[in-house]
Amino acid sequence: MIVAEILGPDGAMLSRVKLDGTCVVGSDRSGGLVLVDPTVAPRHLELLEGPGEGTVTLRRLADDGETRVGSLIVGAEAEITLPATVSVGAVAVRLSSAAATGPAEVPPPSPILSRPATAWGLCLVTVILAATKALLTTDKAHPWHVASATGVAVVLLLPLWAGGWAIGNRLFGYKNRFHAHLSAISIWVLVASCIDLVTTGATEIVHTDTTRVLGSGLDLLLLAWLLYLHIRVASRWRFRTNAIIAGAVVLVLGSLTFLAADADTDADVPVNAALGALTALPAAVYVTRPADGVAASTDKILHELNGMKAKRSVKRAPEGP
């Protein structure tokens, strides 16, 4: 068992992972050790435990990816003794044997990497909801409609959501999570209306009472999801005024969405408007938790701190081969 510690530019450990036997190191997410850095090739090198005890073999996989051990550049293959610090492109990775370092701690998620992952998680849930609605509200005898509705959801929603995140992050930086959520929500609302229009169009072909009920139920589910997203944003807003402004934005967008998407009868208009108005509810009461729940947040922080080292300002001398 090898322990790999990814080091930051100042030598501080960013994360630690245990590697079993053989693994590919690179920027490709299918690898055993993923290093997202422009200087790291998708399949940069292969890491093999052994041949001797406390040694590891580095096998170069990419022609354009450089790997160094100290000042030594790894050619086709190199055997090194652990512990050692290896530079994979510009990323420093400290390798050691698990026995020498003791049990590896669960690394805290990198704040930069975890946020897009959260966005993709939210996106996935949204797609599943949209696809489920399409599936249930479209006649089973017409699988093409199901496929097309789901396809529209996937094709439209995924890139737009990702784009929303990318733009939000570009403008405001990853440190500002609520901006990213806000942009994602705005895009979700816009795209949801498109999807809803498409799926509603499909259901009108074979509209039955059952599918209509299911459709309304899923509308509520979608709305609940929107509410949840809004709560996540509103709870991060500091004060009532800001939260109300956020709520008003969602109220307008939400109402427009539902009015535009589902107003196939006059009777639906006030219902959908009321549903849209519900999205403003968290802004009015802005979410609070009982003070008893603070301990859970504390333990989450302390758990994250367990994987962190002191921020020493003294730099270590570079290690030789």
Partner: protein, 419 residues
């Protein structure tokens, strides 16, 4: 009391010091007792150059000396980077020195050295009368041995650890030196100063307690540090959290304050500049500090409330102002430390048992060398007010998880509006 002003260990501080005019009594004390006093040099190993300078004094004929923990802290945690050397008033140096016991809570350390003809000083457990003339010995600013005459002024009123107040000029480098009566009985160990002749001593009784503890031939000094800091947390728990926070009414708000008279509390108006609002800063702290970093002392517990109100600002402007107060971290409130991780924070809205809603941010950082101990920064703001509110800050250093959580809980529960 400023942290920087308490730094007695000379760390690249080279300021000019006017020589103290000598007196016959001072001269006698210096002549009689200075041979028991040594300069402590914590040397960076590779360059053999002093990194920190303090003072130590002999307490028995076996070569046992006392000094401050903050003088030797670097050595305790980084023995591979530093070594210790003693230099006598005659200029002779002693390299065979070991730290055998430390008490981080009272800022004391016991050294063992192979001294030639050690002349011990006698520790006096008593508390002299206020006004008694006392003499402090040490090596200020890495200069030659110095005697400072001053007066003894009893116990500090807001001290968890029982610190003496000495009116006399202690200067950086005199840390760990003895303050003694004219007959040579040591009443305290030099530890800190706030300038203007406001200086502080660790009572000799605390030093005697440390000396009485058994010594290991291979001492685990880090464990000593940890256990003494945990003992501080026990005292904080007993004194603050078990009794429960008290409450004080300020400008329509009921706010928590540490119990009893143990804390030093003060209030001052906020400098509002051109903005049309009123503000009061209310602050409570202890006279004790912890040397969690070798070159910086940290307060044990600080409670601060900023009470704001305005009938002239619009709601939005007040909210903006309030938000700025909430999100501003002032100098010294959170500083980076080479001995701790970065702070990790979590923000959210919470409500207390009375239904009052708060914005709460809690930030923790870990001290890897001291497992189980953290530094905590908590900030709360009462939500829902359009023209009045309170932004409170609570800081605890070297705290346990339980004490930190008790602080947050009690801070929230003891905050409210005056009906």
């Amino acid at each position: 009391m400023r942290v920087s002003a308490r730094l007695l260990a000379a760390l690249a501080i080279f300021l000019g010091v006017a020589p103290t005019p000598g007196r016959a009594q001072s001269a006698t004390v210096f002549d009689r007792f200075s041979k028991s006093v040594y300069k402590v040099e914590i040397l960076e190993r590779r360059s053999s150059t002093p990194s920190i300078v303090g003072t130590a004094f002999v307490v028995d004929s076996a070569g046992t000396l006392l000094t401050n923990y903050h003088v030797v802290k670097s050595l305790v945690f980084k023995p591979n980077d530093y070594r210790i050397r003693l230099v006598g008033n005659d200029g002779a140096s002693v390299d065979s020195v070991h730290v055998v016991r430390v008490d981080a809570a009272h800022d004391l350390a016991v050294l063992s050295a192979r001294l030639r003809d050690p002349v011990p000083l006698h520790l006096d457990d008593g508390v002299p009368e206020v006004g008694t003339s006392v003499f402090s010995l040490g090596f200020p600013l890495n200069l030659t041995g110095t005697v400072v005459q001053g007066s003894f002024n009893g116990l500090m009123p807001h001290s968890l650890e029982g610190t003496f107040h000495f009116t006399g000029s202690l200067n950086p480098g005199m840390s760990g030196g003895p303050t003694l009566l004219a007959d040579g009985r040591v009443v305290g160990v030099n530890v800190a100063t706030s300038g203007n002749q406001l200086s502080y001593l660790v009572p000799a009784a605390r030093a005697r307690e440390l000396l009485a503890q058994p010594r290991d031939s291979n001492p685990d000094l880090v464990a000593d540090v940890r256990s003494s800091l945990e003992a501080v947390q026990d005292r904080v728990r007993q004194m603050v959290f078990r009794k429960g926070m008290e409450e004080t009414d300020i400008a329509g708000f009921r706010l928590p304050k540490p119990p009893g008279d143990s804390f030093d509390c003060s209030a001052s108006p906020v400098d509002t500049g051109d903005l049309d609002y009123d503000g009061v800063i209310y602050r409570c702290g202890l006279d004790d500090w912890l040397w969690l970093d070798p070159d910086d002392a940290s307060p044990i517990l600080v409670v601060e409330h900023v009470v704001m109100s305005s009938h002239k600002l619009t709601r939005l402007r007040f909210a903006t102002l309030y938000s700025e107060w909430f999100s501003t971290v002032f100098d010294g409130e959170i500083s980076n430390s080479d001995w701790a991780t970065k702070y990790r924070c979590e923000a959210g809205n919470v409500r207390n048992g009375h239904g009052l809603k708060f914005r709460l941010v809690q930030c923790w950082r870990r001290r890897p060398d001291l497992p189980g101990l953290y530094d905590l920064f908590v900030r709360t703001a009462i939500l829902g007010g359009s023209d009045a509110g309170v932004v409170s800050t609570y800081r605890m250093n070297g705290t346990t998880r339980e004490n930190g959580l008790a602080l947050i809980r009690q801070a929230l529960e003891h905050t409210g509006r005056v009906r």
